[in-house]
Symmetry: C2
Subunit: 283 residues, 2 copies
Protein backbone atom coordinates (compact mmCIF):
# COMPACT_ATOMS: atom_id res chain seq x y z
CA UNK A 1 0.00 0.00 0.00
CA UNK A 2 1.22 3.49 -0.86
CA UNK A 3 1.86 5.96 1.95
CA UNK A 4 -1.20 8.08 2.82
CA UNK A 5 0.13 11.51 3.81
CA UNK A 6 -2.36 13.96 5.33
CA UNK A 7 -1.79 17.54 4.17
CA UNK A 8 -3.62 20.73 5.06
CA UNK A 9 -1.53 23.64 3.77
CA UNK A 10 -2.16 24.60 0.13
CA UNK A 11 1.33 26.15 0.12
CA UNK A 12 2.97 22.84 1.12
CA UNK A 13 5.87 22.46 -1.35
CA UNK A 14 5.12 18.75 -1.74
CA UNK A 15 1.90 19.79 -3.50
CA UNK A 16 3.62 22.05 -6.03
CA UNK A 17 2.70 19.75 -8.94
CA UNK A 18 -0.98 20.63 -8.43
CA UNK A 19 -0.86 24.39 -8.11
CA UNK A 20 -3.36 26.53 -10.07
CA UNK A 21 -4.49 23.94 -12.59
CA UNK A 22 -6.48 26.47 -14.64
CA UNK A 23 -3.60 28.89 -15.10
CA UNK A 24 -2.59 27.79 -18.61
CA UNK A 25 0.63 29.78 -18.81
CA UNK A 26 1.84 28.72 -15.39
CA UNK A 27 0.99 25.08 -16.09
CA UNK A 28 2.75 25.07 -19.45
CA UNK A 29 6.06 26.19 -17.98
CA UNK A 30 5.71 24.15 -14.77
CA UNK A 31 4.82 20.93 -16.61
CA UNK A 32 7.52 21.38 -19.25
CA UNK A 33 10.14 22.09 -16.60
CA UNK A 34 9.33 19.02 -14.54
CA UNK A 35 8.14 16.70 -17.31
CA UNK A 36 4.85 16.06 -15.57
CA UNK A 37 1.15 16.24 -16.28
CA UNK A 38 -1.99 15.97 -14.16
CA UNK A 39 -4.83 13.49 -14.62
CA UNK A 40 -8.21 13.84 -12.95
CA UNK A 41 -10.67 11.16 -11.90
CA UNK A 42 -10.36 7.47 -11.19
CA UNK A 43 -10.97 6.17 -14.72
CA UNK A 44 -8.51 8.50 -16.40
CA UNK A 45 -5.83 7.95 -13.75
CA UNK A 46 -6.12 4.19 -14.23
CA UNK A 47 -5.70 4.60 -17.98
CA UNK A 48 -2.65 6.82 -17.56
CA UNK A 49 -0.99 4.32 -15.23
CA UNK A 50 -1.97 1.47 -17.56
CA UNK A 51 -0.27 3.31 -20.43
CA UNK A 52 3.02 3.26 -18.52
CA UNK A 53 3.17 6.75 -17.00
CA UNK A 54 5.04 6.66 -13.68
CA UNK A 55 3.15 8.25 -10.78
CA UNK A 56 4.87 11.14 -8.99
CA UNK A 57 2.11 11.50 -6.42
CA UNK A 58 -1.65 11.46 -5.96
CA UNK A 59 -3.87 13.97 -4.21
CA UNK A 60 -7.37 13.15 -3.05
CA UNK A 61 -9.99 13.40 -0.35
CA UNK A 62 -9.81 10.48 2.06
CA UNK A 63 -13.04 8.94 0.76
CA UNK A 64 -11.31 8.18 -2.56
CA UNK A 65 -8.52 6.04 -1.10
CA UNK A 66 -10.78 2.99 -0.75
CA UNK A 67 -12.14 2.80 -4.35
CA UNK A 68 -8.57 3.27 -5.59
CA UNK A 69 -6.99 0.86 -3.10
CA UNK A 70 -6.03 -1.76 -5.69
CA UNK A 71 -4.15 0.91 -7.65
CA UNK A 72 -2.55 2.38 -4.54
CA UNK A 73 -1.41 -1.07 -3.41
CA UNK A 74 1.07 -1.25 -6.25
CA UNK A 75 2.40 2.28 -5.92
CA UNK A 76 5.59 3.59 -4.46
CA UNK A 77 4.49 7.25 -4.65
CA UNK A 78 3.03 9.38 -1.87
CA UNK A 79 -0.74 9.75 -1.71
CA UNK A 80 -1.60 13.14 -0.27
CA UNK A 81 -4.90 13.24 1.58
CA UNK A 82 -6.55 16.65 1.86
CA UNK A 83 -9.98 18.04 2.57
CA UNK A 84 -12.00 19.61 -0.24
CA UNK A 85 -11.24 23.20 0.85
CA UNK A 86 -7.46 22.64 0.82
CA UNK A 87 -7.65 21.08 -2.62
CA UNK A 88 -9.81 23.90 -3.96
CA UNK A 89 -7.38 26.50 -2.58
CA UNK A 90 -4.46 24.71 -4.16
CA UNK A 91 -5.81 23.88 -7.62
CA UNK A 92 -8.17 26.82 -8.03
CA UNK A 93 -11.50 25.06 -8.47
CA UNK A 94 -13.68 22.47 -6.81
CA UNK A 95 -12.40 19.01 -7.65
CA UNK A 96 -15.53 17.03 -8.50
CA UNK A 97 -13.83 13.90 -9.70
CA UNK A 98 -12.21 13.27 -6.35
CA UNK A 99 -8.69 12.25 -7.21
CA UNK A 100 -5.80 13.93 -8.99
CA UNK A 101 -2.55 12.32 -10.05
CA UNK A 102 0.73 13.89 -11.07
CA UNK A 103 2.39 11.64 -13.64
CA UNK A 104 5.64 11.56 -15.58
CA UNK A 105 5.49 12.32 -19.27
CA UNK A 106 7.04 9.76 -21.59
CA UNK A 107 9.39 10.84 -24.38
CA UNK A 108 7.32 11.46 -27.53
CA UNK A 109 8.38 9.60 -30.67
CA UNK A 110 9.60 11.56 -33.66
CA UNK A 111 7.27 11.77 -36.64
CA UNK A 112 9.52 9.27 -38.46
CA UNK A 113 9.44 6.81 -35.58
CA UNK A 114 5.68 7.17 -35.28
CA UNK A 115 4.91 6.46 -38.93
CA UNK A 116 7.40 3.61 -39.15
CA UNK A 117 5.54 1.90 -36.33
CA UNK A 118 8.53 2.15 -34.00
CA UNK A 119 6.74 4.47 -31.64
CA UNK A 120 7.51 2.17 -28.76
CA UNK A 121 4.03 1.68 -27.40
CA UNK A 122 2.96 -1.90 -27.16
CA UNK A 123 -0.40 -1.26 -28.81
CA UNK A 124 1.11 0.49 -31.81
CA UNK A 125 3.87 -2.06 -32.20
CA UNK A 126 1.37 -4.91 -32.18
CA UNK A 127 -0.76 -3.26 -34.85
CA UNK A 128 2.11 -2.54 -37.22
CA UNK A 129 2.86 0.80 -38.89
CA UNK A 130 -0.07 3.24 -38.85
CA UNK A 131 -2.23 3.34 -41.96
CA UNK A 132 -4.69 6.07 -40.96
CA UNK A 133 -3.20 9.22 -39.49
CA UNK A 134 -4.84 12.47 -38.43
CA UNK A 135 -2.63 15.57 -38.69
CA UNK A 136 -3.77 18.58 -36.64
CA UNK A 137 -2.55 22.04 -37.60
CA UNK A 138 -2.50 24.65 -34.86
CA UNK A 139 -5.54 23.58 -32.89
CA UNK A 140 -5.09 25.66 -29.77
CA UNK A 141 -8.17 24.67 -27.77
CA UNK A 142 -7.35 21.88 -25.31
CA UNK A 143 -10.94 20.68 -25.21
CA UNK A 144 -11.03 20.30 -28.99
CA UNK A 145 -7.74 18.40 -29.03
CA UNK A 146 -8.99 16.05 -26.31
CA UNK A 147 -12.32 15.49 -28.08
CA UNK A 148 -10.57 14.75 -31.38
CA UNK A 149 -8.27 12.21 -29.70
CA UNK A 150 -11.37 10.53 -28.29
CA UNK A 151 -12.93 10.29 -31.77
CA UNK A 152 -9.68 9.12 -33.36
CA UNK A 153 -9.11 6.41 -30.77
CA UNK A 154 -12.70 5.18 -30.67
CA UNK A 155 -13.06 5.02 -34.44
CA UNK A 156 -9.76 3.32 -35.15
CA UNK A 157 -7.44 6.03 -36.46
CA UNK A 158 -3.93 4.64 -35.88
CA UNK A 159 -1.97 7.74 -34.89
CA UNK A 160 -2.10 11.52 -34.57
CA UNK A 161 0.54 14.03 -35.67
CA UNK A 162 0.46 17.53 -34.16
CA UNK A 163 1.82 20.68 -35.76
CA UNK A 164 4.40 22.48 -33.61
CA UNK A 165 1.84 24.98 -32.29
CA UNK A 166 -0.97 22.53 -31.46
CA UNK A 167 -2.30 22.41 -27.90
CA UNK A 168 -0.81 19.79 -25.57
CA UNK A 169 -2.88 16.56 -25.40
CA UNK A 170 -1.59 15.99 -21.86
CA UNK A 171 -2.87 19.31 -20.54
CA UNK A 172 -5.42 18.46 -17.83
CA UNK A 173 -8.47 19.58 -19.76
CA UNK A 174 -7.44 17.73 -22.91
CA UNK A 175 -6.85 14.54 -20.94
CA UNK A 176 -10.23 14.92 -19.24
CA UNK A 177 -12.25 15.64 -22.39
CA UNK A 178 -10.51 12.76 -24.16
CA UNK A 179 -11.65 10.42 -21.36
CA UNK A 180 -8.10 9.09 -21.38
CA UNK A 181 -8.01 8.45 -25.14
CA UNK A 182 -4.76 10.45 -25.26
CA UNK A 183 -3.18 7.35 -23.67
CA UNK A 184 -4.76 4.95 -26.18
CA UNK A 185 -3.44 6.38 -29.44
CA UNK A 186 0.21 7.09 -30.30
CA UNK A 187 1.09 10.61 -31.34
CA UNK A 188 4.06 12.77 -32.26
CA UNK A 189 4.66 16.49 -32.46
CA UNK A 190 6.28 17.93 -35.57
CA UNK A 191 9.36 20.03 -35.05
CA UNK A 192 9.32 21.42 -38.59
CA UNK A 193 6.05 22.94 -39.78
CA UNK A 194 7.56 23.57 -43.23
CA UNK A 195 9.12 20.20 -43.82
CA UNK A 196 7.39 17.49 -41.81
CA UNK A 197 4.47 16.98 -44.19
CA UNK A 198 7.10 15.95 -46.73
CA UNK A 199 8.28 13.22 -44.31
CA UNK A 200 4.75 11.82 -44.24
CA UNK A 201 4.59 11.78 -48.02
CA UNK A 202 8.03 10.17 -48.21
CA UNK A 203 6.69 7.46 -45.90
CA UNK A 204 4.01 6.65 -48.47
CA UNK A 205 1.08 8.64 -47.13
CA UNK A 206 -1.43 10.34 -49.39
CA UNK A 207 -2.06 13.76 -47.83
CA UNK A 208 -5.73 14.79 -47.83
CA UNK A 209 -6.54 18.35 -46.73
CA UNK A 210 -9.99 18.94 -45.24
CA UNK A 211 -11.50 22.22 -46.39
CA UNK A 212 -14.99 23.77 -46.35
CA UNK A 213 -14.39 24.73 -50.01
CA UNK A 214 -17.29 23.06 -51.81
CA UNK A 215 -15.28 22.69 -55.01
CA UNK A 216 -13.07 20.08 -53.29
CA UNK A 217 -13.66 16.33 -53.71
CA UNK A 218 -16.29 14.86 -51.37
CA UNK A 219 -14.45 12.94 -48.64
CA UNK A 220 -16.23 9.67 -49.38
CA UNK A 221 -15.16 9.88 -53.04
CA UNK A 222 -11.48 10.45 -52.25
CA UNK A 223 -9.05 7.59 -52.66
CA UNK A 224 -8.71 6.02 -49.23
CA UNK A 225 -6.57 3.10 -50.36
CA UNK A 226 -3.18 2.70 -48.80
CA UNK A 227 -1.77 5.06 -46.20
CA UNK A 228 -3.79 8.20 -45.68
CA UNK A 229 -2.87 11.28 -43.62
CA UNK A 230 -5.81 13.60 -43.18
CA UNK A 231 -4.94 17.22 -42.41
CA UNK A 232 -7.32 19.16 -40.19
CA UNK A 233 -6.96 22.90 -39.57
CA UNK A 234 -7.87 25.16 -36.69
CA UNK A 235 -11.48 26.13 -36.12
CA UNK A 236 -11.03 29.79 -36.89
CA UNK A 237 -8.87 29.84 -39.98
CA UNK A 238 -8.85 26.23 -41.17
CA UNK A 239 -5.67 24.89 -42.75
CA UNK A 240 -2.89 27.28 -43.71
CA UNK A 241 -2.60 27.94 -47.44
CA UNK A 242 0.85 26.31 -47.32
CA UNK A 243 -0.55 23.00 -46.07
CA UNK A 244 -3.56 23.17 -48.39
CA UNK A 245 -1.17 23.69 -51.27
CA UNK A 246 1.16 20.89 -50.18
CA UNK A 247 -1.60 18.29 -49.83
CA UNK A 248 -2.19 15.75 -52.60
CA UNK A 249 -5.91 16.40 -52.63
CA UNK A 250 -8.39 18.76 -50.99
CA UNK A 251 -11.45 17.00 -49.60
CA UNK A 252 -14.70 18.30 -48.16
CA UNK A 253 -17.63 17.09 -46.11
CA UNK A 254 -20.82 17.46 -48.12
CA UNK A 255 -23.05 20.23 -46.77
CA UNK A 256 -26.73 20.80 -47.30
CA UNK A 257 -27.30 23.38 -50.08
CA UNK A 258 -30.30 24.75 -48.13
CA UNK A 259 -28.19 25.23 -45.03
CA UNK A 260 -25.42 26.93 -46.97
CA UNK A 261 -27.97 29.32 -48.45
CA UNK A 262 -29.08 30.07 -44.88
CA UNK A 263 -25.46 30.77 -43.88
CA UNK A 264 -24.90 27.54 -41.91
CA UNK A 265 -21.87 26.64 -43.96
CA UNK A 266 -19.48 24.88 -41.63
CA UNK A 267 -19.16 22.34 -38.85
CA UNK A 268 -17.21 22.75 -35.68
CA UNK A 269 -13.84 21.06 -35.82
CA UNK A 270 -14.78 18.19 -33.49
CA UNK A 271 -17.87 17.33 -35.55
CA UNK A 272 -15.78 17.46 -38.71
CA UNK A 273 -13.11 15.26 -37.12
CA UNK A 274 -15.73 12.72 -36.05
CA UNK A 275 -17.03 12.42 -39.61
CA UNK A 276 -13.52 12.22 -41.00
CA UNK A 277 -12.44 9.49 -38.56
CA UNK A 278 -15.61 7.51 -39.23
CA UNK A 279 -15.09 7.74 -42.99
CA UNK A 280 -11.41 6.77 -42.73
CA UNK A 281 -12.43 3.75 -40.68
CA UNK A 282 -14.78 2.58 -43.45
CA UNK A 283 -12.08 2.90 -46.16
CA UNK B 1 -32.97 54.32 -38.02
CA UNK B 2 -33.84 52.80 -34.68
CA UNK B 3 -33.63 54.96 -31.58
CA UNK B 4 -30.20 54.84 -29.89
CA UNK B 5 -30.85 55.13 -26.16
CA UNK B 6 -27.82 55.64 -23.91
CA UNK B 7 -28.11 53.72 -20.62
CA UNK B 8 -25.73 53.54 -17.68
CA UNK B 9 -27.62 51.91 -14.82
CA UNK B 10 -27.50 48.09 -14.80
CA UNK B 11 -30.69 48.20 -12.71
CA UNK B 12 -32.57 50.19 -15.39
CA UNK B 13 -35.88 48.31 -15.79
CA UNK B 14 -35.74 48.76 -19.56
CA UNK B 15 -32.76 46.35 -19.52
CA UNK B 16 -34.58 43.61 -17.60
CA UNK B 17 -34.49 41.26 -20.62
CA UNK B 18 -30.70 41.02 -20.28
CA UNK B 19 -30.26 40.40 -16.58
CA UNK B 20 -27.86 37.66 -15.40
CA UNK B 21 -27.58 35.73 -18.64
CA UNK B 22 -25.63 32.87 -17.02
CA UNK B 23 -28.21 32.23 -14.29
CA UNK B 24 -29.95 29.28 -15.93
CA UNK B 25 -32.85 29.03 -13.51
CA UNK B 26 -33.59 32.76 -13.56
CA UNK B 27 -33.36 32.85 -17.35
CA UNK B 28 -35.67 29.86 -17.79
CA UNK B 29 -38.49 31.46 -15.84
CA UNK B 30 -37.87 34.99 -17.15
CA UNK B 31 -37.76 33.90 -20.80
CA UNK B 32 -40.80 31.65 -20.49
CA UNK B 33 -42.79 34.37 -18.77
CA UNK B 34 -42.05 36.98 -21.41
CA UNK B 35 -41.71 34.74 -24.47
CA UNK B 36 -38.27 36.08 -25.25
CA UNK B 37 -34.75 34.85 -25.86
CA UNK B 38 -31.36 36.52 -26.20
CA UNK B 39 -29.01 36.28 -29.18
CA UNK B 40 -25.38 37.34 -29.05
CA UNK B 41 -23.15 38.67 -31.80
CA UNK B 42 -23.82 40.30 -35.15
CA UNK B 43 -24.01 37.15 -37.27
CA UNK B 44 -26.40 35.30 -34.97
CA UNK B 45 -28.62 38.34 -34.45
CA UNK B 46 -28.93 38.77 -38.22
CA UNK B 47 -29.94 35.13 -38.59
CA UNK B 48 -32.54 35.41 -35.84
CA UNK B 49 -34.09 38.48 -37.44
CA UNK B 50 -33.91 36.82 -40.86
CA UNK B 51 -35.84 33.85 -39.46
CA UNK B 52 -38.71 36.14 -38.51
CA UNK B 53 -38.14 36.76 -34.81
CA UNK B 54 -39.38 40.22 -33.83
CA UNK B 55 -36.81 42.35 -31.98
CA UNK B 56 -37.80 43.59 -28.51
CA UNK B 57 -34.59 45.59 -28.08
CA UNK B 58 -30.85 45.54 -28.66
CA UNK B 59 -28.04 46.30 -26.23
CA UNK B 60 -24.52 47.12 -27.35
CA UNK B 61 -21.46 49.28 -26.98
CA UNK B 62 -21.61 52.33 -29.22
CA UNK B 63 -18.90 51.01 -31.55
CA UNK B 64 -21.28 48.26 -32.71
CA UNK B 65 -24.02 50.58 -33.95
CA UNK B 66 -22.17 51.36 -37.18
CA UNK B 67 -21.51 47.76 -38.42
CA UNK B 68 -25.15 46.94 -37.62
CA UNK B 69 -26.57 50.14 -39.10
CA UNK B 70 -28.31 48.43 -42.03
CA UNK B 71 -30.12 46.16 -39.58
CA UNK B 72 -30.95 49.00 -37.19
CA UNK B 73 -32.34 51.10 -40.06
CA UNK B 74 -35.28 48.78 -40.46
CA UNK B 75 -36.03 48.40 -36.76
CA UNK B 76 -38.71 49.92 -34.63
CA UNK B 77 -37.18 48.68 -31.36
CA UNK B 78 -34.98 50.62 -28.94
CA UNK B 79 -31.21 50.16 -29.21
CA UNK B 80 -29.65 50.58 -25.78
CA UNK B 81 -26.11 51.87 -25.85
CA UNK B 82 -24.00 51.08 -22.79
CA UNK B 83 -20.33 50.95 -21.89
CA UNK B 84 -18.64 47.60 -21.35
CA UNK B 85 -18.72 47.87 -17.54
CA UNK B 86 -22.47 48.50 -17.43
CA UNK B 87 -23.10 45.56 -19.73
CA UNK B 88 -20.86 43.28 -17.67
CA UNK B 89 -22.63 44.31 -14.45
CA UNK B 90 -26.00 43.63 -16.03
CA UNK B 91 -25.42 40.33 -17.83
CA UNK B 92 -22.79 38.89 -15.51
CA UNK B 93 -19.85 38.45 -17.86
CA UNK B 94 -17.77 40.36 -20.35
CA UNK B 95 -19.65 40.58 -23.64
CA UNK B 96 -17.02 39.81 -26.26
CA UNK B 97 -19.28 39.67 -29.24
CA UNK B 98 -20.37 43.24 -28.84
CA UNK B 99 -24.10 43.16 -29.38
CA UNK B 100 -27.00 41.45 -27.65
CA UNK B 101 -30.57 41.26 -28.88
CA UNK B 102 -33.75 40.36 -27.05
CA UNK B 103 -36.12 38.68 -29.48
CA UNK B 104 -39.63 37.29 -29.43
CA UNK B 105 -40.04 33.55 -29.55
CA UNK B 106 -42.31 32.14 -32.26
CA UNK B 107 -44.93 29.52 -31.44
CA UNK B 108 -43.38 26.05 -31.89
CA UNK B 109 -45.20 23.63 -34.20
CA UNK B 110 -46.65 20.46 -32.78
CA UNK B 111 -44.87 17.21 -33.65
CA UNK B 112 -47.72 16.40 -36.05
CA UNK B 113 -47.46 19.76 -37.81
CA UNK B 114 -43.69 19.43 -38.03
CA UNK B 115 -43.66 16.01 -39.64
CA UNK B 116 -46.50 16.83 -42.00
CA UNK B 117 -44.42 19.72 -43.34
CA UNK B 118 -46.93 22.29 -42.07
CA UNK B 119 -44.45 23.75 -39.61
CA UNK B 120 -45.01 27.18 -41.06
CA UNK B 121 -41.43 28.11 -41.84
CA UNK B 122 -40.83 29.04 -45.44
CA UNK B 123 -37.76 26.83 -45.73
CA UNK B 124 -39.51 23.75 -44.46
CA UNK B 125 -42.60 24.38 -46.53
CA UNK B 126 -40.54 24.76 -49.69
CA UNK B 127 -38.70 21.51 -49.06
CA UNK B 128 -41.82 19.45 -48.39
CA UNK B 129 -42.42 17.16 -45.42
CA UNK B 130 -39.23 16.20 -43.57
CA UNK B 131 -37.64 12.89 -44.52
CA UNK B 132 -34.69 12.85 -42.10
CA UNK B 133 -35.47 13.68 -38.49
CA UNK B 134 -33.27 13.67 -35.42
CA UNK B 135 -35.05 12.96 -32.12
CA UNK B 136 -33.18 14.04 -28.98
CA UNK B 137 -34.07 12.42 -25.68
CA UNK B 138 -33.30 14.42 -22.54
CA UNK B 139 -30.13 16.18 -23.64
CA UNK B 140 -29.77 18.72 -20.86
CA UNK B 141 -26.55 20.47 -21.91
CA UNK B 142 -27.30 23.62 -23.91
CA UNK B 143 -23.93 23.53 -25.65
CA UNK B 144 -24.56 19.98 -26.84
CA UNK B 145 -28.02 20.85 -28.12
CA UNK B 146 -26.65 23.87 -29.99
CA UNK B 147 -23.78 21.86 -31.50
CA UNK B 148 -26.16 19.11 -32.63
CA UNK B 149 -28.45 21.66 -34.31
CA UNK B 150 -25.41 23.01 -36.14
CA UNK B 151 -24.52 19.51 -37.40
CA UNK B 152 -28.11 18.71 -38.31
CA UNK B 153 -28.60 21.94 -40.26
CA UNK B 154 -25.23 21.86 -42.03
CA UNK B 155 -25.54 18.23 -43.08
CA UNK B 156 -29.12 18.40 -44.31
CA UNK B 157 -31.25 16.81 -41.60
CA UNK B 158 -34.75 18.18 -42.20
CA UNK B 159 -36.09 18.63 -38.69
CA UNK B 160 -35.40 17.99 -35.00
CA UNK B 161 -37.83 16.67 -32.40
CA UNK B 162 -37.03 17.24 -28.72
CA UNK B 163 -38.21 15.13 -25.81
CA UNK B 164 -40.13 17.08 -23.19
CA UNK B 165 -37.06 17.39 -20.91
CA UNK B 166 -34.50 18.42 -23.55
CA UNK B 167 -32.61 21.68 -23.10
CA UNK B 168 -34.00 24.78 -24.84
CA UNK B 169 -32.39 25.45 -28.26
CA UNK B 170 -33.11 29.17 -27.81
CA UNK B 171 -31.19 29.45 -24.56
CA UNK B 172 -28.36 31.92 -25.20
CA UNK B 173 -25.54 29.37 -25.06
CA UNK B 174 -27.34 26.93 -27.35
CA UNK B 175 -28.01 29.69 -29.89
CA UNK B 176 -24.36 30.76 -29.73
CA UNK B 177 -22.84 27.28 -30.07
CA UNK B 178 -25.24 26.53 -32.94
CA UNK B 179 -23.94 29.64 -34.76
CA UNK B 180 -27.59 30.43 -35.44
CA UNK B 181 -28.42 27.00 -36.87
CA UNK B 182 -31.34 26.84 -34.42
CA UNK B 183 -33.02 29.33 -36.79
CA UNK B 184 -32.24 27.30 -39.91
CA UNK B 185 -33.89 24.01 -39.02
CA UNK B 186 -37.50 23.50 -37.92
CA UNK B 187 -38.07 21.74 -34.63
CA UNK B 188 -40.83 20.73 -32.25
CA UNK B 189 -40.97 19.71 -28.63
CA UNK B 190 -42.89 16.59 -27.67
CA UNK B 191 -45.53 16.98 -25.01
CA UNK B 192 -45.92 13.25 -24.47
CA UNK B 193 -42.73 11.31 -23.83
CA UNK B 194 -44.72 8.05 -23.72
CA UNK B 195 -46.78 8.51 -26.83
CA UNK B 196 -45.11 10.86 -29.28
CA UNK B 197 -42.74 8.30 -30.80
CA UNK B 198 -45.89 6.49 -31.90
CA UNK B 199 -46.98 9.62 -33.77
CA UNK B 200 -43.71 9.56 -35.71
CA UNK B 201 -44.21 5.92 -36.60
CA UNK B 202 -47.80 6.61 -37.61
CA UNK B 203 -46.47 9.31 -39.93
CA UNK B 204 -44.39 6.68 -41.73
CA UNK B 205 -41.05 7.08 -40.01
CA UNK B 206 -38.76 4.15 -39.32
CA UNK B 207 -37.42 4.71 -35.80
CA UNK B 208 -33.71 3.96 -35.43
CA UNK B 209 -32.25 4.04 -31.91
CA UNK B 210 -28.54 4.84 -31.61
CA UNK B 211 -26.82 2.73 -28.97
CA UNK B 212 -23.21 1.93 -28.06
CA UNK B 213 -24.28 -1.73 -27.85
CA UNK B 214 -21.99 -3.44 -30.34
CA UNK B 215 -24.55 -6.14 -31.06
CA UNK B 216 -26.74 -3.56 -32.82
CA UNK B 217 -26.76 -3.13 -36.61
CA UNK B 218 -23.98 -0.86 -37.95
CA UNK B 219 -25.56 2.46 -38.87
CA UNK B 220 -24.39 2.33 -42.48
CA UNK B 221 -26.03 -1.10 -42.91
CA UNK B 222 -29.41 0.00 -41.55
CA UNK B 223 -32.22 0.67 -43.98
CA UNK B 224 -32.20 4.38 -44.65
CA UNK B 225 -34.86 4.29 -47.36
CA UNK B 226 -37.93 6.37 -46.83
CA UNK B 227 -38.58 8.47 -43.74
CA UNK B 228 -36.11 7.91 -40.93
CA UNK B 229 -36.24 9.27 -37.38
CA UNK B 230 -32.97 8.71 -35.56
CA UNK B 231 -33.22 8.66 -31.76
CA UNK B 232 -30.25 10.00 -29.81
CA UNK B 233 -29.99 9.73 -26.02
CA UNK B 234 -28.31 11.84 -23.37
CA UNK B 235 -24.56 11.66 -22.91
CA UNK B 236 -24.65 10.07 -19.50
CA UNK B 237 -27.27 7.39 -19.80
CA UNK B 238 -27.99 7.14 -23.50
CA UNK B 239 -31.53 6.37 -24.61
CA UNK B 240 -34.10 5.24 -22.07
CA UNK B 241 -34.94 1.55 -22.20
CA UNK B 242 -38.50 2.53 -23.15
CA UNK B 243 -37.36 4.35 -26.28
CA UNK B 244 -34.80 1.66 -27.14
CA UNK B 245 -37.57 -0.90 -26.88
CA UNK B 246 -40.00 1.16 -28.94
CA UNK B 247 -37.60 1.75 -31.83
CA UNK B 248 -37.84 -0.36 -34.98
CA UNK B 249 -34.13 -1.07 -34.99
CA UNK B 250 -31.11 -0.41 -32.78
CA UNK B 251 -28.12 0.94 -34.69
CA UNK B 252 -24.53 1.58 -33.65
CA UNK B 253 -21.47 3.43 -34.85
CA UNK B 254 -18.64 0.97 -35.47
CA UNK B 255 -15.88 1.31 -32.90
CA UNK B 256 -12.29 0.16 -33.11
CA UNK B 257 -11.85 -3.20 -31.33
CA UNK B 258 -8.41 -2.06 -30.11
CA UNK B 259 -9.88 1.09 -28.60
CA UNK B 260 -12.67 -0.84 -26.93
CA UNK B 261 -10.11 -3.18 -25.39
CA UNK B 262 -8.32 -0.08 -24.08
CA UNK B 263 -11.58 1.19 -22.56
CA UNK B 264 -12.23 3.95 -25.13
CA UNK B 265 -15.66 2.60 -25.93
CA UNK B 266 -17.84 5.59 -26.69
CA UNK B 267 -18.03 8.92 -28.46
CA UNK B 268 -19.35 12.13 -27.04
CA UNK B 269 -22.89 12.86 -28.12
CA UNK B 270 -21.96 15.68 -30.51
CA UNK B 271 -19.40 13.50 -32.31
CA UNK B 272 -21.97 10.71 -32.53
CA UNK B 273 -24.60 13.14 -33.84
CA UNK B 274 -22.19 14.44 -36.50
CA UNK B 275 -21.57 10.92 -37.80
CA UNK B 276 -25.27 10.09 -37.70
CA UNK B 277 -26.27 13.26 -39.59
CA UNK B 278 -23.56 12.67 -42.19
CA UNK B 279 -24.67 9.07 -42.70
CA UNK B 280 -28.35 10.06 -42.96
CA UNK B 281 -27.41 12.64 -45.58
CA UNK B 282 -25.73 9.94 -47.72
CA UNK B 283 -28.78 7.63 -47.55
Amino acid sequence: MARLVPVSDPADPRLADYVRLRDVNLRKSLEAEHGLFVAEGEKVIRRAVGAGHAVRSLLMARRWAEPLSDLLDGLDAPVYIADDATMEDLVGFQVHRGALASLERLPLPTVDALVSGAAGRAAAAAAGPPRRVLVLEDLVDHGNVGAIFRCAAALGVDAVVLSPRCADPLYRRAVKVSMGAVFAIPYARMTDWHGDLGRLRAAGFTLLALTPDQSAVPLEKASLDGRVALLLGSEGGGLSSRWLHEADEAVRIGMSPDAMAAGVDSLNVVAAAAIVCHTLAQG
